[in-house]
């Protein structure tokens, strides 16, 4: 093609400054970045009359609290997908680092469990882990978790960037090895007796809301709704940092460049290998922060945390949000909405009181329906209607 096509510049002329018609407004919603959010809200509104509990404050608080850990992990995946990679090892990193943190912090451990555990037994004894009760121990343990997670991510990145091994296979192997290693470490046991302050990170409220009478002497616990929680603060902070990193820094530009055309990026002086290593490290560190939130709210270090369909939820939420599996296209805000959609979906499936035999079918159908709407939308954008 030697001729230029029509320049979109001429196609995208400014709309006249008149009040937009309803149709135009609907179109704008349909085409905007916030589409998945609108879709989720529409889904919410449609189901509200049928599921009265859906909008009650306790349920809303649940939806929010379920969002945060998944969001943190999905943010890491967003970076990886943007460079046209994939990280299957996130789930195993969640399990492994939750064990690392718990191993260091547990206040006590039962002797018969200890007698089995090969490496774990060297670090922890009946009086607890090395950082139990140590001032600043929690911060140190979290630092150790992040270091452990980051190392795994960096190893993934090194294999992928320097040996040009396919990300799918590298992270698949990491998934197999790391999750087996986590189970091996504790010989299938979960580690409990975590310090209260640590658990607060996953469960603690900062601001709670109560909608009842003010003069009641004892407010029932179930009528107090967590509003702002530590997980929320942590996840939102991670999201903001990630958003800035991806959309407003040199690094972010380089991430997109690699995802769009690795070869061209290399020739233009982008430090491709370094960026790839960094991206996989970020992914694993996000998984580690997710591990922190998951394991503290379950009050245990669990080697099997992040097993099973967890990974599919993470990647599914990210992709539904709009990030492309083929690289070069990704936004943190999309992932936020995608995660919101997935969490809302599983919340509503719970509330529908479907028989457990039906849930998977409905879940599959809703995911496809959401994706279909997205396809329609993309076609509209392309068609320029």
């Amino acid at each position: 093609m030697t001729d230029s096509g029509p320049l979109p510049a001429t196609a995208e002329r400014e709309e006249p400054a008149l009040a937009p018609t309803v149709g135009q407004r609907a179109k704008r919603i349909f085409l905007s970045d916030y589409f998945v959010l609108y879709l989720s809200l529409a889904y919410f509104l449609v189901l509200m009359p049928f599921l009265p509990t859906l909008s009650n404050p306790a349920n809303l608080a649940n939806i929010l609290s379920n969002m945060w850990p998944l969001l943190v992990v999905a943010i890491g995946q967003t970076f990886v997908l943007t460079i046209a990679g994939i990280d299957l090892s996130q789930g195993s990193v969640v399990g492994f680092t939750s064990v690392v943190g718990a191993m260091l912090l547990a206040a006590t451990a039962s002797p018969d469990v200890l007698s089995n555990a090969p490496i774990w037994g060297l670090i922890i004894d009946e009086t607890g882990g090395p950082l139990a009760g140590v001032p600043g121990g929690i911060a140190l343990a979290i630092a150790a978790m992040i270091a452990a997670g980051g190392l795994i991510g960096a190893a993934n990145g090194l294999a992928i960037a320097h040996f040009r091994m396919p990300p799918f296979m590298v992270t698949l192997v990491t998934m197999i090895v790391i999750s087996a290693f986590a189970i091996f470490l504790t010989q299938s046991e979960n580690i409990r007796n975590l310090p209260e302050a640590y658990i607060q990170l996953g469960k603690g409220d900062i601001v709670s809301v109560y909608f009842g009478e003010q003069d009641e002497s004892r407010i029932p616990r179930r009528e107090i709704y967590s509003f702002i929680t530590y997980p929320m603060i942590i996840a939102v902070t991670v999201a903001i940092i990630a958003h800035i990193a991806l959309s407003r820094t040199v690094f972010g530009r380089q991430v997109f460049a690699i995802g769009t055309n690795r070869r061209a990026a290399e020739i233009s002086g982008v430090p491709v290998k370094r960026v790839i290593v960094l991206v996989f490290t970020i992914s694993a560190v996000c998984a580690t922060i997710g591990a922190l939130l998951y394991s503290t709210r379950l009050e245990a270090g669990r080697p099997t945390l992040g097993d099973g369909n967890f990974l599919l939820d993470v990647i599914g939420a990210t992709v539904i949000g709009g990030t492309s599996l083929f690289g070069g296209k990704g936004k943190i805000i999309w992932t936020v909405f995608g995660v919101f959609f997935f969490v809302l979906l599983s919340n509503t499936l719970n509330l529908m009181n479907l028989s457990s035999f039906h849930i998977d079918m409905v879940k599959g159908a809703v995911i496809v329906a959401a994706a279909l709407l997205d396809v329609l939308r993309t076609r509209l954008i392309r068609g320029g209607i």
Binding site: F168, I176, L312, V319, L325, S356, M361
Partner: protein, 327 residues
Amino acid sequence: MTGSARDRAMALVTNHGTLLLFVLIILVFGTQAPAFVGPENLGNIIKQASFIGIAAVGMVFVLLTAGIDLSVGSVMYLGPLIAGFAMRDFGVGVAGGLLVAVAAGAIMGGINAFLIVVLKVVPFIVTLSTLFFFRGFGAFLTSSRQFDFPEEIRAFGLSSVFGVPTPILFFAAVGVAAHIVLSRTAFGRQVYAVGNDEAAAAKAGIRVGRVKASVYVICSSLAALAGFILIAQIGRLDTGFGEGREFDVIAAAVLGGASLFGGIGTAFSAVIGATMIQAVKTGLVFTGTNLYLQPMLQGLIIFAAVFLDSVRAARLETLRRRFIRPR
């Protein structure tokens, strides 16, 4: 031209890294446990590899078009289940059951294909949702209970022809047929073309939609066949059957050399990939390796294979570099 013998040895190692690793695995386990290299066990390895292997051959078709099918694990469950109902309630017999399983797989593949080709949803999301949907449908049919097949199916599953177990025959037949289709038929070569450049394929007049739809139908049919052949050996289908197998299937295909970005891979490679993974698993059982360590060792051996392959790819790239004067 010094060291050409060494060069040639190097070339041999890198070009056939996966195969050499395979041989190495067999030798190492063989010295540890001589029975490992006995004909009975080598037969067992291939027999057990047939389950993932048959499905992996189907996956190669999908991967060649730069697609992915995450639903194979659920198809492995639902396909045989429907065949089971047909056998139990309509008495279609084992051969009929096998056909029903494959047909059910083809229909499931058709559903995937419809969503991907006609409605243009990305394969990852489509097959992620059908992964849930197909398994959910099976759980609905059985109320999540085990399903017992008529006794005759086990006679088929455990049978052999001239001493060759039936699963191996199917594995070989599928491998050979797929190899011929991919390398010797117009359709097969068009699969490669679509995976290389979909837009160019459309311009060249290839019916891209039909090619893409076919690969999903083939993949699901083979996944259902794989499930049926395995279940025929046991006679009972549990609700969890096949869960998470999508990763094993994709790993086998990729380990054999298929690329997730399309256009690269052969049916033969999937056969090798699946057999190699099974050889490692069997070897670890033979050597009595600690169960906790088994998955780790498996992972590391797969890593070695992928690493060798990437070394080979890098070397190939160097070789491809055109020399313009004598070296």
